[in-house]
């Protein structure tokens, strides 16, 4: 596991009081590198590398002794988080991608080519108000395009977690970020050769969840919160959501089922009716590929009315972006369990880890509607408004899980309250799943 903490202030902690630069950093609410490491790693577990490396810059008087510090530029080394090995680096290697999980925590400004360091890692987290990421800063933007923009607007935590999708989570301050990083670390395996970690779990795996029997509203047009479902089935209601503010029509994140880490993907009916669009497809696809790369089983909750129609989406290339999610689910060889809670319409149904994409266990709740599209739209297209009773007939025929179950597209229709139990049982059985793909240099996902 590689962890990158940008802007590791290189001054030994013992010098905090003496050093002017630290005093000025303090007013920005930042910690020094060694203070960060103290919070991130288990006590006394840090072994530092390259402490004696100095910068080699000689221009503008940088080579004078007052501008030289031992342990300059970055702090790197090895330590433990809850007993498990972690490497703290400032630069990573593309070759490590898919071998060990890599996480970047942006704790200060990061500009120019340096932004590609976090961009190449699996997860990028930011600290609110004190961290920025941009290719070119506000001054350059002003001089080139005459656009007035602040650092915060251009590349602050809010911009990257809600607008650009560059960062995956934002935290209140350095301490909050580091403590959350420790917790996040516990979800992840150390490498692609390790299984998803299993923690000691006090939540019974056969716990029934009675509220799920009523969570889907009677009116099929009414929204509900997919997070309610996820929290209620997960161990101890804990869910570490990834990109909670971006493309909110899809929910992705990590939870545990009977102690074992799982990746959860779910359509969010509360936002844009849970439809798939360009951003949600890309968000989902990247998450699915991470889970597949690191042996984390995938649980998918489906309530999707379709792909978002319109020129904006078609011109934006929804076909190739939607294909990413389809590709990611299809190529994934980790255990895949899917629960259709309500709508599973058309192509979007296919994409959402359907049986046709080598799903291991695909379930439908009694409220599920597996069909090409909703009754109203279908009847309009088929009968052009000539058949008055056709809609009721369509609802009767297709707005239920039975046609799909009869064809084997869903393995069972389950009582929603038993969902947690079913998933936990399936995960036990699927723990030894192996599936090999034909030799290739790498697959060609439609980027």
């Amino acid at each position: 596991m590689f962890l990158a903490l940008t802007l590791l202030l290189p001054i030994p902690v013992s010098n905090r009081k003496k050093n002017k630069r630290i005093l000025s950093e303090k007013s920005y609410g930042k910690l020094t590198a060694r203070e960060r490491i103290l919070l991130l790693l288990d006590p006394d577990s840090f072994d530092e590398y390259d402490m004696f490396v100095e910068h080699r810059c000689s221009d503008f008087g940088m080579d004078s002794n007052k501008n030289k510090y031992p342990g300059d530029s970055v702090v790197t080394g090895r330590g433990r988080i809850n007993g498990r090995l972690a490497y703290v680096f400032s630069q990573r290697n593309v070759l490590c991608s898919g071998v060990v999980p890599q996480i970047s925590l942006i704790m200060g400004p990061c500009a120019g080519g340096a932004v590609y360091s976090p961009a190449l890692t699996d997860f990028t987290f930011m600290v609110k108000d004190t961290s920025y990421l941009f290719i070119t800063g506000p001054d350059v933007v002003k001089s080139v395009t005459n656009e007035d923009v602040t650092q915060e607007q251009l590349g602050g935590a809010k911009t990257h977690t809600a607008v650009s999708g560059v960062a995956h989570r934002a935290f209140e301050n350095d301490i909050d970020a580091l403590l959350n990083l420790r917790e996040f670390f516990n979800y992840l395996p150390l490498s692609n050769r390790d299984p998803a970690p299993v923690c000691e779990c006090h939540d019974p795996s056969d716990r029934l969840v009675p509220e799920l029997d009523t969570v889907v509203p009677v009116e099929s047009t009414k929204a509900y919160d997919m997070l309610d479902i996820i929290h209620s089935i997960a161990d101890e209601r804990e869910f570490f959501e990834i990109m909670p503010s971006y493309a909110r029509n899809i929910v992705v994140g990590f939870a545990r089922m009977n102690g074992r880490t799982v990746g959860i993907v779910g359509n969010q009916p509360k936002v844009a009716s849970g439809c798939l669009d360009i951003n949600s497809s890309v968000k989902g696809a990247r998450f699915v590929r991470f889970c597949d790369a690191f042996n984390i089983p995938l649980i998918t909750f489906v309530d999707v009315p379709g792909f978002l129609p319109g020129t904006a989406q078609e011109y934006g290339g929804i076909i190739r972006h939607g294909a990413k999610l389809l590709f990611a689910f299809a190529e994934a060889t980790v255990p895949k369990i899917t629960i259709i809670t309500r709508k599973a319409y058309g192509g979007a149904y296919d994409v959402m880890s359907s049986k046709h994409l080598r799903g291991d266990a695909n379930y439908a709740w009694p409220t599920a509607e597996v069909a090409v599209m909703g009754a109203k739209g279908a009847v309009q297209i088929i009968f052009r408004g000539k058949e008055a009773n056709a809609e009721a007939e369509y609802v009767d025929k297709f707005a239920n899980p039975f046609p799909a179950a009869m064809r084997g597209f869903v393995d069972d229709i389950i009582q929603p309250s038993t969902t947690r139990m079913r998933i936990c049982h399936d995960l036990d059985v699927l723990a030894s799943k192996t599936q090999s793909s034909p030799w290739k240099k790498h697959a060609n996902i439609p980027l």
């Binding site: 303090k26 920005y28 609410g29 930042k30 910690l31 203070e35 103290l38 919070l39 288990d42 006590p43 577990s45 433990r80 809850n82 007993g83 498990r84 090995l85 108000d129 004190t130 209140e172 301050n173 350095d174 301490i175 909050d176 403590l179 959350n180 420790r182 917790e183 516990n186 150390l190 490498s191 050769r193 390790d194 299984p195 970690p197 299993v198 923690c199 000691e200 779990c201 006090h202 939540d203 019974p204 009675p210 509220e211 799920l212 029997d213 009523t214 969570v215 009677v218 309610d228 929290h231 209620s232 161990d235 101890e236 209601r237 102690g259």
Partner: protein, 644 residues
């Protein structure tokens, strides 16, 4: 009883408990009560369709509606309740008082008219009996009201009031009425059949109220002696007989500090708090009502009605007790577990895990009843039951209920209808921790934190890269609770923790099941059931302890020390924004963008659960944006209006 039942429900209640329990269920309309539960046409339709023979109206809604009873009668359907005549007579405030007077039931004595002089005032006051209240008849409410406890005060009161009556109102008439000091609300349950038999089933003490709504009830009352009880019971029965009452009913009395009691009103239906009477008498009131409606005579004689033990009922509401003893809260019950494992507990509820508490109905979650061979036992069980009640997803009043039942005044039985405002003059603020309790809470929280940390190092299976086993057995923490920061040292001592707080060592043991909503923790031999409501990686923890929810932040000493370098995030300037204090519907918006408002000016009106709340501007300024319009439904904390 072998009776098949049909439940009616509104469309939002389609999954309600009563619907599931009934043999059949029919939807009578959309959520607003006027269109469903009060919609007589729809309900009559259902009765015809299902060929129901009798209707139990429950409490509230149509239970005291004579029109409904009349329509049922015209269709030949039995109304499980009294005759329309009794409903009508008791539904009218003036008529019921007259009837009561004629049936020789104590009513509040008084005189309303011209009083010649002070001597006459004294004569009237003596007739009524001290203390008396004197005021100008024309003055509304409590305005110009004077209380006189003896002749001297009566003369003085007469002088002031008659002057005021003449000068302020130009009306000489005075009202002299019995003043009921420290009134208690005590009611008598009656049960009558159609054959002229009537019984009194003892009293219920319902003095703990907020905004005239009962919160805690018990039976019997600590205040009544057998003579008063019999006198009240006999008068209640006399009244029931006078109106030819049949079915169960309740006669409400105000009782003053000298055990004088006065008729208030009669409720011609089953009361919410009827379970406490059932507990101490052993009668099933609903069953008796059905028998009576069928025409059977009563099975019991007055001498058969016992007082066995003591029963207490707490009304558990989805409301925030920190706002005027309870403002409604809405939401989904994400977790809900009734304390049925505690002995002698009865929970009457219509909701379950996953239920929505909506703005359409009374926000009552349940009635929690405990029973004991004596009052102390019933109260002890109530404490336990409240601690073991799991309600998540909505605000609830468990903290207030628990504080009331352990308050020394309540425990001694020294209560009145003014109990809450007297005991909490500045509003309810939750439990106030003693030093010992605070140490217990801190030790428990710190131990929970360490238990969690230890668990997060325990991975199952054998990983490829060995996990470094921590040999750590002691932790230095810093816990923030309220305004205080407490350094705490925890060391592991076998399966328990030894915790040092404020220089004192406490021993904390538990099973440390971190998934269970209820945690049994023993600190230095004192066992308590606590609930950890939430935790996060940043150390923020919410613990329900002695009924009240406490927010704590638990950090290692190192993290706490470094916290001082973290920037203070500027809090939102709340004076220029107006947020909804509770969920409800916007009734009216009095401003539009660009308007200038002055401090204290009404900006909009929110209605929630029958209450209208005026939202006022916190400062003078120009309206920047209005985010709501009349008719909107808003949630707690929703932005309504922004000022510049």
């Amino acid at each position: 009883m072998g009776i098949k039942t049909v439940a009616i429900h509104s469309d939002v209640d389609a999954n309600a408990v009563h619907v599931k329990m009934a043999d059949e269920a029919v939807c009578v309309g959309p959520a607003p009560t006027g269109k469903s539960y009060l919609n007589m046409d729809a309900i009559m339709e259902v009765i015809k369709k299902t060929r129901a023979q009798a209707v139990h109206p429950g409490y509230g809604f149509l239970s005291e509606n004579k029109e409904f009873a009349r329509r049922l009668a015209s269709e030949g359907v039995t109304f499980i309740g009294p005759d329309t005549h009794a409903i009508q007579a008791m539904g009218d405030k003036i008529e019921s008082k007259l009837l009561a007077k004629n049936a020789k039931v104590n009513t509040i004595p008084g005189f309303d008219g011209v009083v010649k002089d002070a001597d006459e005032a004294v004569r009237i006051a003596r007739e009524i009996g001290y203390p008396v209240m004197i005021k100008a008849s024309a003055g509304g409410g409590g305005k110009g009201m004077r209380i006189a406890w003896d002749d001297e005060e009566t003369r003085e009161g007469f002088r002031f009031s008659s002057q005021e009556a003449a000068s302020s109102f130009g009306d000489d008439r005075l009202l002299i009425e019995k003043f009921i000091d420290n009134p208690r609300h005590i009611e008598i349950q009656v049960l009558a059949d159609k054959h002229g038999n009537a019984l009194w089933l003892n009293e219920r003490e319902c003095s703990i109220q907020r905004r005239n709504q009962k919160v805690v009830e018990e039976a019997p009352s600590t205040f009544l002696d057998p003579e008063t009880r019999r006198a009240m019971g006999e008068q209640a029965v006399a009244l029931a007989k006078a109106v030819k009452y049949s079915s169960a009913g309740t006669v409400e009395f105000l009782v003053d500090s000298s055990k004088n009691f006065y008729f208030l009103e009669m409720n011609t239906r089953l009361q919410v708090e009827h379970p406490v009477t059932e507990c101490i008498t052993g009668l099933d009131l609903v069953q008796e009502m059905i028998r009576v409606a069928k025409g059977y005579p009563l099975r019991h004689k007055q001498a058969d009605i016992p007082i066995n033990g003591w029963a207490v009922e707490c009304r558990v509401y989805a409301e925030d007790p920190y706002k005027s003893f309870g403002l409604p809260s809405i939401g989904k019950l994400s977790q809900y577990q009734e304390p049925l494992h505690v002995p002698s507990v009865r929970v009457d509820s219509g909701i379950q895990q996953g239920s929505d508490i909506s703005i359409y109905y009374d926000p009552m979650i349940s009635k929690l009843i405990t029973y004991g061979s004596n009052r102390a036992e019933a109260l002890k069980r109530m404490e336990e039951a409240l601690d073991n009640y799991v309600i998540r997803g909505v605000a609830h009043n468990i903290s207030l209920l628990r504080e009331v039942i352990v308050h020394p005044r309540f425990v001694q039985g020294d209560i009145s209808t003014k109990f809450l405002p007297e005991v909490y003059p500045d509003g309810f603020k939750g439990h106030k921790l003693t030093d010992l309790e605070r140490r217990e809470l801190l030790a428990t929280a710190a131990s929970l934190y360490v238990a969690e940390q230890l668990r997060s190092q325990r991975f199952l299976g054998t990983p490829r890269i060995p996990i470094a086993k921590s040999k750590r057995s002691s932790w230095e923490l810093s816990v923030r609770l309220g305004d205080g920061n407490y350094p705490i040292a925890v060391s592991k001592d076998g399966s328990s923790f030894s915790v040092e707080v404020d220089g004192m060592k406490l021993n904390v043991t538990s099973e440390w099941n971190l998934a269970s909503p209820l945690l049994s923790v023993t600190v230095d031999g004192t066992q308590r059931t606590i609930q950890r409501l939430s935790r996060n990686a940043s150390g923020d923890t919410r613990i329900q302890f002695l009924g009240t929810v406490y927010k704590l932040q638990i950090l290692t000493k190192v993290a706490a020390e470094l916290s001082k370098y973290m920037p203070e995030k500027a809090a939102e300037d709340t004076s220029s924004i107006l947020r909804s204090p509770m969920p409800g519907a916007v009734v009216a918006v009095s401003v539009k963008p660009g308007d200038t408002v002055s401090e204290g000016q009404e900006i909009c009106v929110i209605e929630a659960m029958k209450m209208q709340n005026s939202m006022i501007a916190a400062k003078t300024g120009k309206v920047k944006a209005v985010h709501c319009k009349a008719g909107d439904t808003v949630g707690e904390g929703d932005l309504l209006v922004e000022l510049e």
